[in-house]
């Protein structure tokens, strides 16, 4: 948004086929700036902060938890403090809660009402996470959704779907795959994907070389 006096018209910078909701958001943003509620810089700083986050941050937390049982307990008890301990920025709010996948219990995360997501530790959510089919089917037919993502759960595994309806953001700690016993923390972190921390993928050990 331009900050100079609007005594002349100019076209907004858009990608051409802007949906109505984006045009509305832009109009509201312009009004808030004109009324002095927020500054143009506030919006830009917030967007810069958001896109500077990446799943690599969450992966560092999980990898540390895989190699350090005491840290894992601290992560499960208070993910915010655990993130700060690793020098990660857990964001101002909301509260992050880490949940552990085991041989007996599998967690997956959805926000049926909108697109709540642990953005501070994972970055912006993928487009499919915000899609209506995922948001509805993750609670009504979660095993079929997992199957489509390539996760096969045994009938003896309890599936827990976490619907982030309020102030808590959930981060899934996936199971450490077999065959990774000799790997160090950085090597392990490289195996831990965004989807695994949403609970729709299971990390795999790298294929043996040669």
């Amino acid at each position: 948004m331009s900050e100079h006096e609007h005594d002349h018209p100019h076209e907004p910078i858009t990608n051409g086929d802007e949906p109505p909701a984006a045009a509305r958001a832009r109009a509201v943003e312009q009004l808030l700036i004109e009324k002095g509620v927020i500054r143009c810089e506030d919006v830009r700083e917030r967007i810069d902060w958001l896109v500077s986050r990446s799943p690599g941050d969450g992966a560092r937390l999980v990898a540390r938890a895989w190699v350090d049982p005491d840290f894992k307990q601290r992560l499960l008890a208070d993910a915010r403090s655990a993130a700060l301990e690793l020098g990660l920025d857990p964001g101002p709010s909301p509260v992050v809660v880490a949940v552990e996948n085991t041989d007996d219990v599998h967690h997956m995360v959805v926000c049926t009402l909108c697109s709540c997501y642990p953005r501070a530790l994972l970055g912006p959510p993928p487009a499919w996470y915000k899609s209506l089919p995922y948001r509805s089917r993750a609670v009504s037919d979660p095993r079929a959704v997992l199957d489509e993502f390539g996760v096969e759960l045994g009938d003896d595994v309890e599936l827990r779907v976490l619907d982030s309806t309020a102030d808590i953001r959930y981060l899934v700690m996936p199971r450490r795959p077999a065959g990774t016993e000799g790997m160090n923390e950085d090597e392990l972190a490289a195996l831990i994907t965004r989807d695994a921390m949403i609970g729709v993928a299971q990390p795999a050990a790298p294929a043996p070389i040669g």
Partner: protein
């Protein structure tokens, strides 16, 4: 905090005009308190510029999939974060 982990609760089956964070698919359903989070500002008033005070207790409530969807396997769970004023004692 009115409820403790293990307590059975029913989600109030009432309509609400305006912003709220209780999904329609859980209204009228019975679940179990899985976790007591903390107290948070009320999104129903905060959404309209108020401070959302007093803060309201927020619980993680777990439901059995089969109670929500006829097709869901019985052992799977759907868990959602629900504010106390949407929960009724179902003991």
């Amino acid at each position: 905090m009115t409820f403790a982990p293990g307590d059975m609760v029913r989600v109030a089956d009432r309509p609400h005009t305006g912003h709220h964070r209780t999904p329609g698919y859980l209204k009228g359903k019975t679940g179990r308190i899985a976790r007591v989070h903390a107290a948070f500002a009320n999104p129903e008033t905060r959404a309209y510029g108020a401070d959302g005070l007093p803060r309201l207790p927020l619980y993680l409530v777990e439901f059995t999939g089969g109670d929500l969807w006829p097709s869901a396997p019985g052992r799977d769970r759907v868990c959602a974060d629900l504010f106390e004023h949407w929960l009724e004692d179902a003991e």
